[in-house]
Assembly symmetry: C2
Homo-oligomer: 335 residues x 2
């Protein structure tokens, strides 16, 4: 077992905050956007001891922007208003403060495993430090005001990334997604709204932010996540007992293909890596060289791959190099 990360991969919380004296980012002119950015940077310098790196979107190449997105360190929205947006990334990459995204501030924390309380504490701590210096737009009835009404209230979205290969094998994902939606939560693919659940990775998050406290939202989400994790683990146990050979076959076929193929699309790689992770987590394969499948999944995404290799690649070249990166990782295993 990969500790507790066999099913719950990572936890992400972000809150939306706006400053009273500025228009929402979409209506902000570049001069005011820069003013706001400097205000935030000054506050950071005064209040934060942690090591944060500052990036303006306009100073990054398209590939670099995509890489930060693929790593879930920034949101796709942040790159829509190139001249106004920027972000601060904490050295350990556990926190990002996005400036002039849809809202003036988006504070995001990203921890591994199911870690809602810790992610919320960290988020809240950063928020408190900023709030002590900045003039937040806040209404005593509505809570924090946001650019999009769905975020009004706590302005918080908490989400947990889950690896659900066995619920997928037994075709249970559609009905589970329906059930989760009825509980007021959303289920999305790896890269948010409308994206496919590539690699059997699903993000489960709260839908509404109004009328509940952050703690209530987190507690409810936590309870449901624990149930889903339990379901996935039960199905894994069931399949191991009843369909062990079929499961082992599926896992080893993916392993064989990953270990030997010469060309591989990102989508295919995600699916085989999902099976490989399942193989590690169910004990069918020994992860003796300590491969981190989730990190590898990100490493082989188009932009991250090209950024790290510092080259421009067409689709065919990417598929070639992706297969090579995976083969290299797997060559260290003693199977």
């Amino acid at each position: 077992m990969e500790s507790d990360q066999d099913v719950a991969i990572s936890t992400r919380i972000r809150i939306a905050r706006n400053l009273k004296d500025f228009d929402f980012p979409l209506y902000l002119n570049i001069e005011d956007a820069d003013k706001l950015t400097n205000t935030v940077l000054d506050t950071m310098k005064e209040s934060f001891d942690d090591n944060y790196k500052f990036f303006r979107i306009r100073d990054l190449s398209v590939k670099e922007r995509l890489m930060y997105m693929e790593e879930h360190l920034i949101s796709p929205e942040l790159t829509r208003q190139i001249d106004k947006s920027s972000f601060l990334l904490r050295g350990d990459e556990k926190a990002t403060i996005m400036i002039n995204e849809e809202d003036h501030l988006r504070i995001q924390t990203l921890l591994s495993g199911l870690n809602l309380d810790a992610a919320w504490r960290l988020c809240s701590e950063i928020d408190d430090k900023l709030e002590s210096k900045l003039n937040y737009a806040y209404d005593s009835d509505l809570g924090y005001l946001t650019a999009c009404p769905t975020n009004v209230g706590t302005g918080m979205r908490a989400s947990v990334m889950l690896h659900l290969p066995c619920l997928s094998i037994i075709n249970h994902m559609n009905s589970l997604t329906e059930a989760i939606r009825k509980l007021g939560l959303t289920v999305r693919g790896l890269y948010g709204e409308g994206t496919e659940a590539s690699g059997n990775l699903y993000q489960v998050s709260n839908q509404t932010t109004l009328g509940q406290t952050e703690e209530e939202i987190i507690n409810k989400l936590n309870k449901i996540i624990i149930q889903i994790v339990g379901k996935e683990r039960n199905v894994r146990k069931y399949l191991k007992e009843k369909k062990g050979f079929e499961l082992e076959d599926k896992i080893y076929r993916s392993f064989g293909i990953l270990k030997h193929s010469r060309l591989m699309s990102s989508k295919e790689a995600m699916n085989h890596l999902s099976a490989l992770k399942l193989g590690f987590d169910c004990g069918y394969l020994l992860n003796d060289s300590g491969i981190n499948i989730i990190e590898l999944m990100i490493e082989i995404m188009p932009a991250t791959m090209q950024k790290k290799l510092n080259v421009d690649l067409d689709k065919n070249e990417r598929d070639k190099i992706r297969a090579e990166i995976i083969r290299n990782h797997l060559s260290r295993m003693e199977v």
Copy 2:
């Protein structure tokens, strides 16, 4: 390169002969069938020094019969009239004399590679020895008389088994089959008339036996086979040069699946083994442990597998053991 057997795997020639004083096998009663069998056996004892083993179909289990068929040592027809049929198998398995198949005698020779002349010489030699003692049904106009009119004349069918993976990849097999048919030859799958070309293996053979000498038939077939072999080799060269990475990917994927899967149907195994053979023959993979793919293809056929292991297996168990046999063979390779 696996010597000359990169494309032409094996050559098989069989001739049909009947004895004057007996009805054709279908109309023969069991007593006369036994009498005929004993006549042939007596002739064998007198005229043959070679070591032949004698098998009556009725003394063999269904699995044993199937095994000899899978190995192409006897024809499916031989097992249709269980009480009348038998065969003599030469120690080196290069020759079989079938008794009371569709005809009284079917003499078959089976050599590796493209070897029509030698196969014909061996067949002819056995035929001459038998003819010197037995009273063959022969008409000076029609030639050897046979139960089925399509065999009248020389009574000979010569066929060469070809491995044509690259002509298949470029979707050329249908038009090639058409062209070959127009030349008066037939193209069939691994197990004769109506069987699928599993593992990209095709048998090309003469269609008619009347109005031509054996040598003419063999020369014509040989010329056409050499052309097909040349075509397949050219396409291999072309694909290596122009689509080398795709070809290598296909071969290594098959290798990865063969090396690691836990369950495999016979059909799937044939296709991946075909790709593996191509990998050896094109130099993409080193056959350092000397695996004979064609022998392995036969080893994993349902009956041969069960006969050799001496067990009864259902489909799922066969798929499991087939995968295991293949894994064991491949584990000796140093890839």
